[in-house]
Symmetry: C2
Subunit: 126 residues, 2 copies
DNA sequence: TTTAATGTATTATATAAGTAATACAATAAA
DNA sequence: TTTATTGTATTACTTATATAATACATTAAA
């Protein structure tokens, strides 16, 4: 799992854990039924207290993303159909937020298209 | 000033105030030398405690965005040249963040271009 | 059955964030 | 000079965030 915590971020650590796992599930890196890393393992990996990770896991379960079971771990509970819908919704929401900010900064949709076109032509994308 | 606080946001209120004022300055809604609303007025408008707004103003001054003066208020201190550079930097940073998330969600640059093209053709944009 | 790993729960402590009520000093205008 | 408004500062309190050290019950495997 590609997951790091930015201590300088204004987002609380447990919120960062929630977002990162959601992203991992929606991108297909974690599938329905997959086992999440144990609370203790992830805490050690991220250098967080186990309680902080547990808080994130509890929130994920409350949102219906996973199911926690003492002794056997936490498993993703997002069927492929629901995942695809959530993936699409999150993308459109991120796009909407970005466009709002970009437009209020004075950039037009055409400006943005030009930037993306430029990125496509960068060596790093060939 | 177009400014609202989302109480449900994981971002602390004073951070939201900072971001909103920065955006207002970078978009040109507030110019170098312009007077910010008084701490008390803005607190009343946003239904926040004056101390919370004062904290945001203090941070903005520390970042060199504004200058606070007892008795006469807080004034924007961002010359046009610096503003334009910051505006460009913020846009590119927001674009980078969005593209990162979108790509990790499995969307290609072409997908994004298609979405933007679709938005351009929406009635709300004609 | 034993053992180890799991999520869960509890208690304590520390710091950050936010609210609240005041008071103070500087400024600008009447 | 007086008055009102400004940013600033202080104190107190509450809640959220995070760490720390344990303990407990459940599960799965040895």
């Amino acid at each position: 799992m590609n997951l790091t915590i930015d201590a300088k971020s204004p987002l609380p650590a447990y919120q960062q854990v929630i977002q990162a796992i959601k992203l991992e599930v929606l991108s297909g890196g974690l599938c329905d039924g997959d086992l999440l890393p144990s609370i203790r393992d992830l805490a050690k990996l991220l250098k967080l207290n186990p309680n902080t990770v547990a808080k994130a896991y509890y929130a994920l379960e409350a949102e219906g993303f996973s199911e926690n079971r003492s002794g056997s771990g936490s498993r993703v509970r997002v069927p492929a159909g629901r995942r695809d819908a959530l993936r699409q919704a999150m993308f459109e929401n991120e796009l909407k937020n970005f466009l709002e900010k970009a437009v209020s900064l004075g950039f037009s949709l055409e400006d943005i298209q030009q930037f993306i076109e430029r990125i496509k032509n960068e060596p790093s994308h060939r």
